[in-house]
Subunit: 199 residues, 2 copies
């Protein structure tokens, strides 16, 4: 299926507001891929499809999670997370997307995961910072995203975790794994850097 | 070994300030056990021993983690967590404590864990709230501890997680599992309660 048909198929899954957000994520993902040496074609594709199932009825998502062998622990966590896993399943089943990197970037765009790929980071960060986003701290995340996807994503996860703490809601363990993994990557980069400088 | 000898052995592992804290945790753990129907003898024992290895040199703790088969992932996390696992190993190896409930309460007193036992909760909460503790939010946690160990511990973990977010430090996944588990317990209690009231 070519990109125009995929665009049309995706457009049909969601209301205008969500489609506008999707176009913002596509635009931002392409910029991030250019800035940080990512695969621009995959970034565009994953960004276009990232919210494919977001507007689907909860009951439909629940049925897919139960019947298609998606991680059942999803059902214990915030529904906000369901659409990412259901979306990865759906674009594979309905649109024939078979690129695992793209499917993973869709699957983990909300939670993150322990060892995020460059494409995971691009889609997740574009989702936090696309021009239509407005939440406390978004400007700081956009600023950090000019230099470091890791620092920007840590700030993004911090804002999500803080919100969940304030609301007394459960925190998805993958988000903690993701944040810990990004901190480790930064520390590894810094120690490499200081070896270079010191050597 | 009787309690007096254990007290003496523990006293010898730490400076005055830490010993004063230990006595505060013992006193608080006994009160919590009385208030919430816990095993008072085990609460006293686990509280007495909970910081047995806290003042040990980092190098000694690291050696024990490496040589005694303790979870090696500990080494990737904050050193603050090491003494709890090393302490459980040490009171078993050096003092002959063989009660798994007591050893677990020592092992998980800093991080918590997914399905905390009543004894885990007593020791962890006593450690947060003993009279010598003074940190932002401690009064709120003490107040909550009059009614619900679960609500008090969630507030305690919230304060720990918030501090780690502010400092840009890694969050131990067990703490997230612990907090999520406590929220689930509260939700289960509430739904039981509303069934009773509604039925």
């Amino acid at each position: 299926m070519d990109l125009d048909l995929l665009r049309e198929a995706t457009r049909g899954q969601m209301p205008d507001r969500r489609w506008k957000h999707t176009l913002g994520v596509v635009e931002t993902a392409i910029k991030l891929a250019e800035r940080f040496g990512g695969d621009i074609r995959k970034a565009e594709l994953a960004a276009l499809l990232h919210d494919y199932s977001k507007a689907w009825p909860i009951s439909r998502m629940e049925q897919i999670i139960r019947e298609q062998g998606l991680p059942s622990e999803l059902l214990e966590h915030d529904r906000e997370l369901w659409h990412a896993h259901v979306g990865a399943w759906a674009v594979h089943a309905e649109l024939g997307i078979a690129d695992d990197e793209v499917l993973d970037a869709i699957r983990y765009h909300t939670s993150g995961r322990a060892r995020m790929t460059k494409l995971d980071k691009i889609v997740c960060l574009a989702d936090y910072t696309e021009p239509g986003r407005d939440f406390p701290g978004v400007e700081k995340i956009r600023k950090l995203a000019e230099k470091s996807m890791e620092e920007a994503l840590i700030a993004g996860f911090d804002s999500t975790i803080t919100l969940l703490l304030e609301k007394g809601r459960r925190i998805f363990p993958l988000t903690i794994d993701a944040r810990n993994g990004l901190i480790e990557q930064l520390e590894a980069n810094e120690s490499q850097q200081s070896n270079v400088n010191g050597g």
